[in-house]
């Protein structure tokens, strides 16, 4: 069988730096191939080369064949959108906020075929129907902001398909989406590839995503294609160390069993917070009850919009709830009582998601880490301050670093360790981790999770681990709470809840989570337009 797309010896250099070197692969009609690798491995650069959008000044070598006819790398611009369609990661920025979705799809259609307004509109609706947005469920006169993230990604896909491409390039198309939506979009891509005879190149950092839907996998590392092969063969017997490392790091570390627990440390009763405070409007959080004992590790899982962040902010007194109350160590949280609040904050500290924005870029590490010491009832001496900072740094495995260094001198994983060290400097009993490992790559994530396990063992530190990622929850929590639309829908011991979920929503979440051993369920319910 002839190949639809064949790349041979693709090399890209820019200003003396080699971005890609000797990348060769091919793909047939109706085939979906996956490209996986860490950030900076050259995945996106390959995609940009294929659509002729490399950064200006790039030197390209190698050959590109479409349907066995050679095409010059500088001749790709007219093919973009016609023979090669593209979908990017961020569906919200890929769409024009001021145009209806059908107009945007029609715009793509009119570029390639002479259509009048009525025809274009009709064609656009047909195309939107094919990507799972039938006009009966989602009017094509809607604007992007009226749609969910998954629906917007479907529109972006419809636009990519408007030029009737043979080849579809999807660069991290599901990274910004929830797991259940991700499974639906992946299913849609697989179906379109098969039914429309497309050749799809799916780019992702997530080996589980690729393994679930692609027949072949290409593994990238440092601008080189280090391994490629049939998915099942590659996942069973990876030959290259990079692939093996990707697979080893894919699953978070094994859990450690629960230990003794103390008295109730944090308790929330009937917590409700509305989007517009002091109104009867919709609630971001509705009647949430929660209690955490000292040394207990509790996970809160939920998709975007489930109220996770609102819960964290309400528990910590950063945003007061509309009704209900939070007690820490038996005393109600009341931000207006300053001295009492300080006492409570000494027991509960927090680590945020983004290691870049959680450290002040203008302050040296020593000063950043010492900040929580303001919570002490007395002013610490210089020696005490330094001792505590050094201890905190040592406990997160950064014993040797200079306290005068600034945050930008550290990698993402190190910054997250610094953020944890800052939380530990005051020796709290409970650490609230708000998506604390979601912005990290798999290897760094696993290091941080191991660190958390160690901290729990050595200090008896309790966690409130808030995340959208089920697999992470498994390795560091004893008990899980499932949040949906601001309400607790399920709750139970972690191992039980994740292995044999009873609640339908939990079952859906567990089923949609990609993993290396199991393909995500390709159920037929793709017309999920909510």
């Amino acid at each position: 069988m002839t190949s639809r797309l064949r790349v041979e010896g693709l090399s890209v250099t820019l200003a003396g730096r080699t971005l890609l070197s000797e990348v060769s692969f091919e793909a047939r009609r109706g085939e979906m191939i996956g490209m996986v690798g860490d950030s900076g491995s050259g995945k996106s650069m390959t995609a940009l080369a294929l659509i002729g959008l490399l950064p200006p000044g790039s030197q390209v070598q190698g050959s590109l064949n479409l349907d066995d006819a050679e095409v010059g790398w500088d001749r790709l611009a007219p093919l973009r959108g016609r023979r090669i369609g593209v979908v990017f990661q961020e569906p919200s920025s890929a769409l024009n906020p001021l145009m209806t979705i059908s107009d945007q799809v029609a715009e793509g259609l009119c570029l390639h075929a002479p259509l009048n307004r009525m025809e274009a509109h009709r064609e656009a609706e047909a195309l939107l129907d094919r990507v799972g947005l039938p006009s009966s469920a989602v009017s094509s006169d809607r604007y992007p902001h009226e749609l969910s993230g998954g629906q917007r990604q479907r529109v972006a896909l419809a636009i990519a398909l408007a030029g009737r491409p043979d080849i579809l390039i999807a660069d991290e198309p599901t990274t910004a989406l929830d797991v259940t939506t991700q499974a639906q979009i992946l299913h849609l891509l697989a179906r379109l590839t098969a039914t429309e005879g497309l050749t799809t190149l799916l780019i992702s950092h997530d080996l589980g995503v690729i393994g679930g839907v692609c027949s072949r996998v290409l593994v990238m590392s440092h601008g080189r294609l280090v391994e490629q092969g049939e998915t099942t063969r590659l996942l069973e017997a990876p030959s290259h160390p990079v692939t093996r490392r990707l697979m080893q790091n894919y699953d978070p570390p094994e859990p450690v069993t629960a230990g003794p627990q103390g008295a109730v440390l944090l308790e929330a009763k009937g917590l409700t917070r509305r989007y517009l405070p002091a109104t009867d409007g919709p609630a971001a959080l509705h009647n949430v009850h929660l209690s955490i004992r000292a040394g207990e590790r509790v996970g809160v899982i939920g998709e975007s919009g489930s109220g996770k962040s609102t819960l964290v902010r309400s528990l910590l007194g950063l945003d007061p709830p509309d009704s209900g109350r939070v007690t820490i160590a038996g005393v109600a949280v009341d931000p207006s009582q300053r001295r009492q609040t300080r006492e409570q904050l000494r027991q509960v500290q927090v680590v945020f998601q983004d290691p870049v924005s959680s450290l002040n870029p203008r302050q040296p590490i020593g000063r950043i880490l010492a900040e929580p010491l303001h919570l002490l009832p007395h002013r610490p001496t210089k020696e005490e301050r330094q001792r505590r900072v050094r201890e905190a740094l040592a406990s997160v495995g950064l014993g040797g670093i200079s306290e005068h260094a600034r945050p930008h001198e550290f990698s993402g994983g190190q910054r997250q360790r610094l953020a944890i060290a800052r939380a530990l400097v005051i020796e709290p009993k409970l650490l609230v981790l708000d998506e604390a490992v979601s912005a990290l790559d798999a290897a760094t994530r696993n290091e941080i999770l191991l660190l958390l396990q160690e901290l729990w063992r050595s200090r008896g530190l309790g966690f409130l681990f808030v995340t959208h990622d089920l697999s992470v929850v498994r390795s560091v929590t004893d008990r899980v709470i499932v949040l949906r639309h601001g309400e607790i829908v399920d709750e139970g011991p972690t191992a039980m809840l994740l292995t044999c979920p009873e609640h339908p929503y939990t079952r859906e979440l567990v089923g949609a989570t990609p993993s290396l051993g199991r393909r995500p369920p390709l159920q037929s319910g793709s017309h999920d337009a909510q």
């Binding site: 910590l316 950063l318 300053r338 609040t341 300080r342 904050l345 500290q349 927090v350 945020f352 998601q353 983004d354 924005s357 959680s358 450290l359 002040n360 870029p361 203008r362 302050q363 950043i368 900040e371 929580p372 010491l373 303001h374 919570l375 600034r406 930008h408 953020a419 800052r422 005051i426």
Partner: protein, 276 residues
């Protein structure tokens, strides 16, 4: 860092020009130019020559000496009033960003009111009621700089307030004031310094305007604005009386704007490096 600063040509040139103006002002103040500044009707309205490089005015005073002597009041008043505006405006903007709520809303509206007034008109009113003089001029110009800096600082700080390190500071029990000065001020300082130079160029023009209508610097202290006012009836006979003070004014304004430009570029380059 110092090397990169030196490489930026316009930055150095404009800084040098401003420095030269200040030195000339100090020289004039020290009395070295007193002979040129004294009235001598025997040499009135002389055209530029080797004796009087930029000519003399209707009272026989040397134009170059007057420009030198006028630079210190012009730059000084502008600098003082802008700094006063920044010292009051920046904390105001930071505090409104940290606290939010109805007080911040009221302060923002008050800023709008000041912005809505034609600045020169209010300055004229203020100096007319308080009496002309250096102090009043400084206050009048400073009043208009407060909302400029308040708004600039507020806008920047409001973006920073959404960053997680502010939440972390709140989790450390820091007060509003501590957050404003420890976390926000160092992060807004760069752009504020740039704005300082821009505002100073505007303040120089404002000061000359006030002196032009007789409300700014009072005689016998020389001023570029008043030189222009004195010369306006003599434009046809002695064009140098308008040209040279006007050129001095224009180059000071230009130099300050280039300085601001250079600093802005330097600063954004620096912050990009931090981001990387």
């Amino acid at each position: 860092m110092r090397l990169r600063l030196a490489r930026s040509g316009t930055l150095v040139c404009s800084a040098l020009l401003l420095g030269l103006m200040l030195v000339a002002g100090v020289v004039a103040l020290s009395g070295l130019l007193d002979s040129g500044l004294s009235i001598d009707l025997s040499r009135r309205l002389l055209a530029p020559s080797t004796m009087h490089l930029l000519g003399t005015d209707a009272l026989g005073r040397d134009v170059l000496a007057q420009i030198c002597a006028g630079s210190l009041p012009s730059l000084g008043i502008a600098g003082l009033s802008v700094c006063l505006g920044a010292v009051l405006g920046i904390p105001l903007g930071l505090m409104t960003a940290v606290r939010g709520g109805s007080i911040a809303e009221w302060i923002a509206r008050a800023n709008d009111v000041v912005f809505a007034f034609p600045s020169l008109l209010l300055a004229v009113l203020l100096t007319a009621s308080l009496g002309p003089g250096i102090g009043t001029t400084v206050i009048a110009i400073a009043v208009f700089n407060v909302p400029v800096f308040a708004r600039l600082a507020h806008g920047q700080a409001a973006v920073l307030m959404r960053q997680d390190f502010i939440l972390a500071a709140r989790m450390s029990g820091r007060t509003h004031t501590a957050i404003a000065f420890d976390h926000l001020l160092p992060n807004v300082a760069g752009l504020t310094v740039v704005q300082l130079a821009v505002q100073m160029s505007l303040a120089i023009v404002a000061e000359s305007g006030l002196s032009y209508v007789g409300l700014g610097v009072q005689p016998p202290l020389p001023s570029w604005g008043r030189m222009l006012a004195d010369a306006q009836t003599l434009v046809g006979i002695a064009p140098w009386l308008v040209t040279f003070p006007g050129a001095a004014l224009a180059s000071a304004v230009l130099a300050l704007n280039l300085l601001a430009d250079g600093m802005a570029k330097h600063w954004t380059r620096g912050s990009r490096q931090v981001a990387q």
